[in-house]
């Protein structure tokens, strides 16, 4: 024996092939006889693989066996997978969704052992699909669970869930939610480039609208779909869309648009594909031509249909259309007996399939044929049936549309509430902001107000302080003057008279030396007294007093004084006169002390409302502010105080090295 590895490999291949090629019966045998669970499961698995989509009964039976076994041996994942696969055949071929639901229920009771999101979601999806045939609400609940359990990236499954839930909602008459689900499914499929299902979801929506009489909505969505299909270059799907559109137009009774759509559909038919749609379109065309009495065109279409008879017969959904077309054509060509045959065939098939629209149109067709056969009784009978059915459909359609608009309205109401709430929130926010702003401005205003008060009080304070000071300094001036006067008088009347008495005594005793001493003492007292308070002012008036002072200064200094003095006697009170006198006196005192002036000029002018005293010198001048700020220099301040006491104005014009002009303007009462 050649121990050639190539030979070995060949043998291995052969063995494997022989295994695969084993008959299904072989595995059935193993599955039925073995007691080894593992082996049994493996062989059942093989049976299932071989029977899937081929022998539904075997598949269903063995699936159940497998699931039971798997559950017993705690292989939940395996059970789940098989349960999912079992659902469709069980529901569809055996029409036993209850069984499917109960099997999935059993698996789901151990769902905590399933970690895979795909499996869990899938179980719910399949139970939902089964439930769709039993209990739509339960189905929707299942779909919701499926959505919860599928991971985000299980997008194809999520899309399926949405599509199925869309069907469920649609059947429930919840068109708004259905529409939403269809749209979501549509976008999922579009993203996945699964155009077939994309089309299905959109068609689901369109058909939902169309069946329930929302032709406008159906057309709108269909137009969108057509645009999309053209955009995606999926022209093979266009024919069916145009065909469906044509059916809608037929229902509305718009024959012009109906034929247009039919032509469109025919044009977009792929020539090679003589499938269902090909038959449907030509049947529709035949029917259209027949009912419009275009017999030759109708004949052409009928010929096409009859060429495809082998494809048509046995396929109920296209049989209906074929029978309908034949009947219509035969009616049009007055072959009533034959047409009666086809019409009845159509009715029969329609009833088998339970397509209400077709049943209804068959009734109408039969009624018409019997009418032409003059069998009015039967004609009426079918007509009645037609009417009953139409009315019920009409009512349902009305109810549906009511439901649709109701839910649409509810949604809009909710949206409106939401918008209102948003608006309210915005308003509240705005209110809050306004309030904040208001508070800010109020606090600002309060702060401003208080600072204003503070400033005002401060100013008031300063003002009153200043007033107090002025009052004080003026009182000081007045009291100073009074004091001077008192001392002057005391000196004069007291000490002076005492000295006189002493002098008189001495006159009699005749001590000449002492007498002279007394004389000089008296002279001194007199001078001091005079300086303190001029006797002249009191006795001869202000004008004389000023003249007197000027003359004294003129005599006792080198200053050259020119004076022009108007008489200002009896214009002022005694106190005011003293102040005026002092102003002149102190101005000259300043000139003599500081100005180093050679000459000076005094003018006292009397006007009707005021007097002006101007005293000018040609001395060294000074800087007013500097001097005024100098605290030691009292001269200017005193002058100013005296002027204020007289309610007058003082003007000082002085520059360094260019002399000084003091001008006092004193108002008359």
């Amino acid at each position: 024996m050649t121990n050639n590895p190539l030979t070995k490999a060949f043998l291995l291949c052969l063995f494997t092939l022989s295994l695969v090629a084993q008959d299904i019966g072989y595995y059935k045998n193993i599955a039925d006889t073995t007691t080894n669970n593992l082996l049994k499961l493996e062989s059942i698995d093989s049976v299932l693989i071989k029977s899937y989509n081929i022998d539904n009964n075997t598949f269903i039976t063995y699936s159940q066996t497998y699931i039971n076994l798997a559950l017993e041996s705690d292989n939940i994942v395996g059970a789940a997978k098989k349960a999912m696969n079992l659902q469709y055949p069980l529901t569809m071929s055996q029409n036993n969704p209850e069984k499917a639901v109960s099997i999935i229920d059993r698996v789901l009771s151990k769902k905590q052992k399933i970690k895979d999101s795909f499996l869990l979601g899938g179980l719910y999806l399949k139970r939902g699909a089964a439930n769709s045939n039993l209990d739509l609400k339960a189905a929707i609940a299942d779909f919701n669970m499926a959505l919860e359990n599928f991971a985000i990236n299980d997008s194809i499954h999520r899309a399926d869930v949405y599509l199925f839930r869309g069907y469920a909602y649609s059947d429930l008459g919840d068109f708004v939610d259905a529409g939403n689900d269809y749209s979501i499914a549509y976008s999922y499929y579009e993203a996945l480039k699964d155009y077939n299902y994309m089309l299905r979801s959109q068609q689901g929506k369109i058909i939902m609208f169309s069946v329930n009489g929302f032709y406008d909505l159906a057309k709108k969505n269909r137009d969108e779909l057509i645009t999309k299909l053209i955009e995606l270059d999926l022209k093979e799907f266009l024919a069916s869309e145009y065909y469906n559109q044509a059916l809608d137009y037929e229902k509305i009774g718009n024959s012009k648009l109906q034929i247009e759509s039919l032509y469109n559909a025919e044009r977009h038919l792929s020539d090679t594909l003589k499938g269902n749609m090909f038959i449907n379109i030509h049947a529709a065309l035949a029917e259209y031509y027949s009912s419009n009495n275009l017999l030759s065109e109708a004949k052409q279409q009928i010929d096409i249909l009859e060429n495809c008879q082998d494809k048509i017969l046995g396929n109920h959904s296209i049989e209906i259309n074929y029978y309908g077309a034949m009947a219509s054509y035969l009616v049009a060509s007055s072959d009533l007996d034959k047409s009666l045959y086809f019409a009845q065939k159509k009715l029969q098939t329609a009833e088998e399939l339970g397509i209400k629209n077709e049943i209804m149109s068959s009734h109408l067709l039969l009624s018409e044929i019997y009418r032409k056969l003059k069998d009015y009784e039967r004609s009426l009978e079918y007509k009645d049936q037609y009417d009953v059915m139409r009315d019920s459909l009409y009512t349902r359609s009305n109810a549906n549309s009511l439901a649709y608009y109701q839910s649409l309205f509810d949604i809009q109401l909710k949206e409106k509430e939401l918008v209102e709430k948003n608006v309210n929130i915005q308003l509240l926010k705005k209110d809050g902001e306004t309030y904040k702003n208001l508070m800010f401005f109020i606090s600002l205003a309060i702060m401003l107000f208080f600072s204003l008060i503070l400033v005002f009080r401060n100013r008031q304070n300063i003002k009153s302080k200043k007033e107090l000071q002025e009052k004080f300094s003026q009182t000081l001036l007045v009291s100073q003057e009074a004091e001077r006067k008192r001392i002057s008088k005391d000196l004069h009347d007291g000490i002076g008279q005492q000295l006189l008495l002493i002098k008189n005594k001495l006159v009699s005793s005749g001590d000449q030396g002492t007498m002279e001493m007394i004389d000089s003492t008296i002279e001194e007292v007199r001078n001091i007294s005079h300086d303190l308070h001029p006797f002249v002012l009191q006795e001869f008036g202000i004008t004389r007093a000023i003249e007197h002072t000027i003359r004294q200064i003129d005599e006792n200094s080198s200053l050259f004084i020119s004076s022009e003095i108007d008489n200002i006697d009896n214009l002022f009170s005694t106190e005011e006169e003293v102040n005026i006198y002092r102003i002149v006196q102190e101005s000259f005192s300043n000139i003599l002390k500081h100005a180093q002036a050679e000459a000076s000029k005094v003018l006292i002018k009397r006007f009707s409302k005021s007097i002006i005293i101007s005293i000018k010198d040609n001395g060294i001048g000074f800087d007013f502010t500097e001097k005024y700020q100098d605290k030691k220099s009292l001269g200017l301040k005193t002058l100013l105080e005296r002027t204020k006491f007289l309610n007058g104005h003082m003007k000082v014009i002085s520059k360094k090295e260019s002399g000084t002009l003091l001008e006092f303007k004193l108002p008359l009462q």
């Binding site: 004069h492 009347d493 002076g496 008279q497 000295l499 006189l500 008495l501 002098k503 008189n504 006159v507 007394i518 004389d519 008296i522 002279e523 007199r526 005079h530 006797f535 002249v536 006795e539 001869f540 004389r544 007197h548 003359r551 003129d554 005599e555 050259f560 004084i561 020119s562 004076s563 002036a597 050679e598 000459a599 000029k601 040609n618």
Partner: protein
């Protein structure tokens, strides 16, 4: 006993008594004496004395007011003021108010006799100390007394042949001020308003004010 009548008034009783005693001692005909201005004036109006010796500062009425009233009422009593005040203004006033004497109180007792004698003779009497005060006026030409010292300064400069411009610059005053002073002086001295009149006058009286 001297025939002319005298009254006295002073608000200071001791001084009044001293004066009265002195007058009586000197045998003057003292017919009354008042303690204040009102009493003094009443005495004058009632008794019409020849001489009234009055203090200036008295309650109710000062010596000057009495003199004024006397003049206004045509009373010819000759007033002698006896006061501690030494004022040039009083001298001026005296000229206006028919006051015949002006004695400083400290020299009252020494000078009163001279004063009364002078007054009875119809001549004014002023204390020498007052005349000292008015020195120039009495030792020199009386016409100068009405000029101010500044005017006199200008007059001196004029006498020294200074022009107005020179005077202005010397005295640091404006040309116009000098002009004004000149015209004032001319008015006061009652000269003819001619350009040279002041210069001529100043030259003539030069000795009086140039010391």
């Amino acid at each position: 006993m001297k025939t002319f009548t005298i009254i006295t008034a002073d608000d200071h009783p001791l001084l009044l008594k001293g004066l009265n005693d002195f007058l009586l001692e000197k045998k003057y005909n003292l017919i009354g004496s008042g303690n204040n201005g009102r009493e003094a004036y009443n005495l004058i109006t009632k008794k019409r004395p020849d001489i009234a010796i009055l203090d200036i500062q008295m309650p109710f009425m000062s010596g000057l007011e009495i003199a004024k009233n006397c003049k206004n009422n045509g009373l010819d009593t000759k007033i002698v003021l006896i006061t501690l005040h030494k004022e040039r203004e009083l001298y001026r006033k005296a000229q206006d108010l028919n006051i015949f004497g002006y004695i400083l109180k400290e020299f009252a007792l020494e000078e009163i006799e001279n004063c009364i004698n002078s007054v009875t003779a119809g001549k004014q009497y002023f204390s020498p100390k007052i005349l000292e005060l008015l020195a120039e006026v009495f030792t020199e030409d009386s016409s100068l007394k009405i000029l101010t010292p500044s005017e006199k300064k200008i007059l001196k400069l004029i006498a020294n042949d200074k022009t107005n411009k020179e005077i202005a610059s010397l005295l640091f005053i404006s040309y116009r001020t000098v002009e004004k002073h000149r015209s004032n002086i001319i008015t006061k001295l009652n000269l003819e308003p001619k350009t040279n009149s002041l210069l001529v006058w100043a030259k003539e009286h030069q000795h009086k004010f140039i010391s």
